[in-house]
C-alpha cells in the first residue's frame, strides 16, 4: 500500500521534472538583463521613442566581407547573400545597390535645390558671399573627379546641391556604391557591406538558433569559395543567442552539479534512497510551481530568475532535510505525525521570515526583482506545503539505519560552541567593523552583461568602418509642429557639431535630410541676396565663365520660387526608407523625432548640447539604468533592515525579546560579515550583492530558528549542517558564472551561508526552552 503510493508520487515527480527540463528549452528565457529593469523615463514620449528605436534596431544584422582584393571581397559578399537569402531565418538581405539609387537621390532633391545648402557653404555665404560662390563655381568646374551623385552642371553650377548631398549622413559611413555594391577601401583592404533582418523576433530561441545556423552555413560557404576573405557580423540577435547559450550551459552545469552533490550528500547521510527522492520531489515541485506562477504572471522567465530558481534548490531542500534529520535521530521511537507537529512551528517561522524578505522585494517597482520574489515565494510555499503533507505520508516508519552519525554528532556535535569559538567570533566581528566603514558601491550597467568577446570584437571592427548608430543613447526632440521639430533639431545638431570630440563622432538627424522650411527659406534668401543683387552679379559671373543665359535664368527662377521640401514628401520617397524610424511623427504632446548617435560621445558634451535647446531630452539608457540600480541598491538595504526588524517582532512573540535577538544573531552576522569582507577587499558592492544578502537573511533566519527550536543541546545541528552544505552546493557554484552579476551573487551567498552556519549555535537557548512544542 505504502509502496504503491510512493511509486505514484515518484512517477509524478519524475514527470514534473522531465516537463520542467523540457520546458526550459521551450520557455522564453529573457537574457537581456536590461529587460529586468523598469521603465527609466517618466516622459511617456521618451519611453515610446526608446522602444521605437529598440524595435528598429533589434532585428537588424550587419555583415562585412573583407579581403585584400576587391574582387575577392565582392565574391565573398555574393556568396554570403545567396546563402542568407536561401535561409528562412533572414529576410530583406540587402547587398546590391540598384544603379538608379543615386538617380533617385538626385531626383528627390533637385526640385528644391535653391533651398539646400551644406553647413560649411551656409557659413561661408554669411561671411563673404561673392567670394564663396565664385570659389564654388570654379571648384565645381575644376575638380579632377566627378561628384558622387551625378548632377548636370547646368542645374547646379555652384555645386551647392552637390555639397548638400555629400554631407548627408549615410549609414554606410565610408561605404559608397561601387559596381552595384556598397564598398569601402581602408588600410589596404576592401570591404563590402551587407545587411539583413531576422525573420522572427531576435528574443525567440528558435529565431536565434536558425540565425546562428544560417550564419555559420554562410560563413562556411564563403570560406569555401573565397578562402582569403574575412566575414564580420554584428546584431542584437547574435548577442542574445550567445548569452542564451552561455546561460543555459551554465544553468544546466551548475544545476546538475549541485543536484548531484545534494543527492550524494543525502545518500551518505541517510543511507537510504527515500529521503533523497522525497527531498528532490519537494524541490522539483517548488521549482515547477515557481516557474508556473512566473510564466502565468509575466509570460517570460528571466535568466536571473532562473539563477535564483536553481539556487532555490538550496533553500527548499532544507525543509525535508530537517524532517529526515529528526527521524534519523529519533531512531525507533519515531512517530511521524508527532514529530511533524513538533517541527511545524520552526518550519512555519522559517517560511514566514523568508517570505517576509521576498515580500519586501515584491513591493519594489522593479520588474526583475518582483519576478525573482514571485518565483521564490511560490517555490518556497510549495516546498513547505509538500514537506508538511507528503513527508509524514511517505516517510512514516522509523529510519532503518540507525542514528550512528546523527546521534553521535548531535549532542556535542561540530557546532557546539566552546568559549574560544565565541571569542573568535567576537574578534571577527570587531575586526570586520572597519570593513563595513570602507564599503564602496558600483552601479555600472555593464555589470549586467558581459558580451561575448568575439562578437564585441566584430562589432568594434564594423563600427570603425560604418556609421552604425548606438541604440542606447539618443535625443528626443519635441515641439508643437513638424517644422518646429526640424528647427530644434537644427539648433541641436549645430550644438553637437561644435562639441564633437572627433570626426568619427557623428549623429543622424532627419533635419540633415529635410532642412526646416525656415532654414530652406533662409538659404534661398542668402543665395538670392548675393546672386540676384541689383547689379546682377551672379548672372554676370555665370556669363563670364561661359554658361548659357538659360542656366542663370533657371537658377533665378528656382531662387524666386518657394519650392520647399517637406517632411511628408521626403517620407514618401524611397530614399528615406532607412531613416524613417527617426521620425516619430504626431505624439500626444505634438510632434517628435529622435537623433541617434554614432562613434564616441562624452556624456557631458551630450548633456550640454541637450540643455542648449528647448524641447530636447537626452535619453541615456545606460546612465538611467545605473542611477536606478543605485536607487534599488539603497532600497534593498532598507528592505533588509525592515525585514530584520519585522522578524524580530515576529519571533519575540514566541521567544521573547532576548530569545528573538539570539535567534536572529546568526542571520545578522551572516549579512554583516560578507559586507565587511567586501569592504576589506575593496570590492564595490552592487545590487546583486544585496540581492544575495536578502537570501542570506532568509537562510540565516532559518538556521537560527531551527537551532533554537531544536533544543538546548543542539539537536538540530545535524539538520543545519546538511542544509548549509546543500545551500553551498546550490549557490556557491554560481560564483563560477561568467556573468559578473551572477558570480557576485553566488560568492556573497557562499560567504553568508558559511557565516550563518558557523554562527548558528549562538541562537541556541541557554537553558532548555520553556515553551512546549505546540
Amino acid at each position: 500500500m505504502m509502496l504503491r503510493r510512493l511509486f505514484v508520487l515518484l512517477g509524478a515527480a519524475l514527470v514534473a521534472g522531465i516537463l520542467t527540463l523540457a520546458l526550459l528549452d521551450k520557455v522564453p528565457v529573457e537574457t537581456d538583463l536590461l529587460a529586468m529593469l523598469p521603465a527609466t523615463e517618466r516622459n511617456p514620449a521618451a519611453e515610446q521613442a526608446m522602444a521605437h528605436i529598440a524595435r528598429a534596431h533589434e532585428r537588424r544584422i550587419v555583415l562585412i566581407a573583407s579581403a585584400d582584393d576587391a574582387a575577392q571581397a565582392r565574391r565573398a559578399a555574393s556568396t554570403l547573400a545567396s546563402t542568407l537569402r536561401a535561409s528562412a531565418a533572414f529576410e530583406h538581405v540587402t547587398l546590391e545597390v540598384p544603379p538608379a539609387a543615386l538617380d533617385a537621390l538626385r531626383d528627390t532633391y533637385l526640385p528644391y535645390r535653391a533651398g539646400l545648402l551644406a553647413a560649411p557653404m551656409r557659413e561661408a555665404l554669411a561671411l563673404n558671399g561673392r567670394e564663396a560662390l565664385a570659389q564654388a563655381l570654379y571648384r565645381s568646374l575644376s575638380a579632377p573627379l566627378p561628384a558622387g551623385v551625378p548632377l548636370d552642371p547646368a542645374a547646379d553650377p555652384f555645386g551647392t546641391l552637390a555639397g548638400f548631398l555629400a554631407e548627408l549622413p549615410f549609414a554606410g559611413g565610408r561605404f559608397t556604391p561601387e559596381q552595384g555594391m556598397l564598398m569601402a577601401h581602408h588600410a589596404g583592404r576592401s570591404h563590402v557591406l551587407l545587411s539583413a533582418e531576422t525573420a522572427g523576433s531576435p528574443h525567440a530561441t528558435n529565431t536565434q538558433q536558425a540565425v546562428v545556423a544560417a550564419l555559420a552555413q554562410a560563413r562556411s560557404d564563403a570560406a569555401e569559395h573565397t578562402p582569403d576573405a574575412e566575414v564580420l557580423a554584428t546584431g542584437l540577435v547574435l548577442y542574445a543567442a550567445a548569452a542564451q547559450h552561455t546561460a543555459k550551459h551554465e544553468m544546466s552545469l551548475i544545476g546538475g552539479v549541485s543536484l548531484l552533490g545534494i543527492t550524494l550528500l543525502l545518500l551518505v547521510a541517510f543511507r537510504s534512497l527515500r529521503p533523497v527522492l522525497l527531498g528532490i520531489a519537494c524541490i522539483a515541485l517548488g521549482v515547477a510551481a515557481g516557474m508556473a506562477v512566473v510564466l502565468a504572471v509575466d509570460g517570460r522567465l528571466h535568466l536571473l530568475t532562473l539563477v535564483c530558481g536553481t539556487s532555490l534548490l538550496g533553500i527548499a531542500v532544507d525543509y525535508p532535510l530537517h524532517y529526515f534529520a529528526r527521524r534519523q535521530r529519533a531512531g525507533a521511537q519515531w512517530q511521524a505525525e508527532a514529530a511533524m507537529a513538533e517541527m511545524r512551528p520552526a518550519l512555519t517561522q522559517g517560511l514566514l521570515t523568508s517570505l517576509l524578505g521576498f515580500a519586501a522585494l515584491l513591493a519594489m517597482p522593479f520588474p526583475g526583482l518582483r519576478q525573482i520574489a514571485l518565483f521564490s515565494m511560490a517555490g518556497l510555499l510549495t516546498a513547505y506545503v509538500a514537506t508538511l503533507t507528503l513527508l509524514p505520508l511517505f516517510a512514516r516508519r522509523p529510519a532503518r539505519h540507525t542514528p550512528a552519525a546523527a546521534r553521535r554528532r548531535s549532542p556535542a556535535g561540530p557546532l557546539a560552541m566552546p568559549r574560544w569559538r565565541r571569542a573568535l567570533l567576537a574578534v571577527l566581528v570587531i575586526a570586520s567593523l572597519p570593513g563595513l566603514a570602507r564599503l564602496t558601491h558600483n552601479d555600472d550597467v555593464r555589470l549586467l552583461s558581459t558580451p561575448d568577446p568575439a562578437l564585441a570584437q566584430q562589432e568594434a571592427a564594423i563600427r570603425a568602418l560604418t556609421r552604425l548608430d548606438q541604440g542606447s543613447r539618443l535625443f528626443l526632440i519635441e515641439a508643437d509642429t513638424a517644422d518646429a521639430v526640424l528647427q530644434r533639431e537644427e539648433h541641436l545638431t549645430a550644438a553637437l557639431r561644435s562639441r564633437a570630440p572627433s570626426p568619427e563622432s557623428g549623429f543622424t538627424a532627419v533635419s540633415a535630410f529635410v532642412p526646416s522650411a525656415r532654414r530652406q527659406a533662409d538659404n534661398r534668401q542668402a543665395l538670392a541676396r548675393v546672386l540676384l543683387d541689383d547689379a546682377g552679379w551672379g548672372n554676370a559671373l555665370l556669363d563670364e565663365v561661359g554658361y548659357r543665359p538659360e542656366v542663370a535664368h533657371s537658377l533665378s527662377e528656382a531662387l524666386r520660387s518657394e519650392a520647399t521640401l517637406t517632411i511628408d514628401h521626403w517620407l514618401a520617397q524611397p530614399v528615406s526608407t532607412p531613416y524613417r524610424h527617426l521620425w516619430l511623427g504626431a505624439t500626444a504632446g505634438g510632434v517628435a523625432s529622435v537623433i541617434t548617435l554614432s562613434g564616441a560621445w562624452p556624456a557631458d558634451a551630450l548633456e550640454a548640447a541637450a540643455q542648449a535647446v528647448p524641447g530636447v531630452t537626452l535619453l541615456d539608457k545606460p546612465a538611467a539604468v545605473s542611477t536606478l540600480m543605485g536607487q534599488y541598491r539603497q532600497g534593498m538595504a532598507w528592505a533588509l533592515a525592515c525585514a530584520i526588524g519585522l522578524s524580530l517582532l515576529l519571533l519575540s512573540r514566541r521567544h521573547g525579546w532576548r530569545g528573538a535577538a539570539a535567534t536572529l544573531t546568526p542571520c545578522i552576522l551572516a549579512v554583516a560579515l560578507p559586507l565587511a569582507a567586501l569592504g576589506m577587499l575593496g570590492v564595490p558592492v552592487t545590487l546583486f550583492h544585496w540581492l544575495a544578502l536578502m537570501l542570506v537573511f532568509g537562510i540565516g533566519a532559518d538556521y537560527g530558528i531551527f537551532t533554537r527550536e531544536g533544543g538546548a543541546q543542539g539537536e538540530a545541528a545535524f539538520g543545519v549542517l546538511l542544509a548549509a552544505i546543500t545551500t553551498v552546493l546550490g549557490f556557491g557554484l554560481l560564483a563560477f558564472s561568467s556573468t559578473p552579476a551572477i558570480a557576485s551573487f553566488g560568492l556573497t551567498l557562499f560567504m553568508g551561508v558559511v557565516t550563518a552556519f558557523c554562527a548558528s549555535p549562538l541562537a541556541r537557548a541557554d537553558r532548555p526552552h520553556l515553551v512546549p512544542a505546540a
Partner: protein, 207 residues
C-alpha cells in the same frame, strides 16, 4: 541550331578572341613603356565643352604623378586650387598642405574615380578591364586606347574615355553620356625617379 552551326559559332568566338590577346600584349607594352619612370611631371590644360556652356571652359595647371603615391593636381588658372588624389579618393589641400574638409572627400565613389584616374595617368590600364572594354591601337609614334564602360552604373553617365600617349600619357578625353566632353592635354612632360621633399610631404597626408 544544328551541330555544325554550333561548331561555326565556336570557331567564330575563337577568331574574335585572337585580337583580344594581341590587345593584351599591346596594353602590357604601353604600361611597361610608361611605367619606366616612377615619377612624371607635366603642365596640363583642361578644356570642358558642356552643353550648358556657349564656349569651352579652360583651366591650366601642373600635375605630378607618382606611381606609388598618387596624383598631385595643381590648378593655377583661372583659380588656384590643389587636389591630392590617392587610393582613398580626392582631397583638396590648402597652401600649407593641410587637407580641407568637404573637398569631395572620401565619400561617394571618390575612391573608385580616383583609382580610374590614377590608372589612366599611369597608363596602367589592364586593371580597368573589370569595368571597361579596352581597345588599344598603335598610332604614329605612340598609342591610343579607347575605354568603353561595360558596367551599367558607369555606362549611365560615361560614354567612353580615350587615352593617347607615348612614353607618357599625353591626352585624355572623357566623353559623358550627355555629350559633355572634357579634354586634358599634358605638355612639358618630364620623367623623374623620385618625388621632391616638398611633394613627398604633401602626399603624406594623415589617415
Amino acid at each position: 541550331m544544328t551541330r555544325r552551326g554550333l561548331v561555326l559559332l565556336a570557331l567564330l568566338g575563337l577568331c574574335l578572341s585572337l585580337p583580344a590577346r594581341a590587345d593584351d600584349a599591346l596594353l602590357a607594352q604601353i604600361t611597361t613603356r610608361v611605367a619606366s619612370s616612377p615619377v612624371l611631371r607635366a603642365d596640363f590644360s583642361q578644356t570642358k565643352t558642356l552643353a550648358a556652356m556657349r564656349k569651352p571652359f579652360r583651366i591650366a595647371g601642373h600635375v605630378t604623378y607618382a606611381r606609388d603615391a598618387g596624383v598631385l593636381w595643381q590648378v593655377t588658372a583661372p583659380y588656384a586650387v590643389t587636389y591630392l588624389i590617392d587610393a582613398r579618393g580626392a582631397a583638396e589641400i590648402d597652401a600649407s598642405g593641410q587637407r580641407k574638409a568637404g573637398g569631395g572627400g572620401d565619400n561617394a565613389g571618390a575612391a573608385q574615380a580616383a583609382r580610374i584616374m590614377q590608372a589612366l595617368l599611369g597608363a596602367d590600364l589592364a586593371p580597368l578591364q573589370s569595368s571597361f572594354a579596352l581597345a588599344p591601337i598603335r598610332q604614329d609614334a605612340g598609342w591610343q586606347v579607347t575605354l568603353t564602360p561595360h558596367r551599367a552604373d558607369l555606362a549611365r553617365h560615361l560614354a567612353r574615355i580615350v587615352v593617347r600617349g607615348d612614353t607618357a600619357v599625353e591626352q585624355v578625353d572623357i566623353l559623358e553620356a550627355t555629350g559633355d566632353h572634357t579634354e586634358i592635354r599634358f605638355t612639358a612632360i618630364t620623367h623623374d625617379t623620385r618625388l621632391s621633399e616638398a611633394e613627398a610631404a604633401l602626399f603624406a597626408r594623415p589617415e
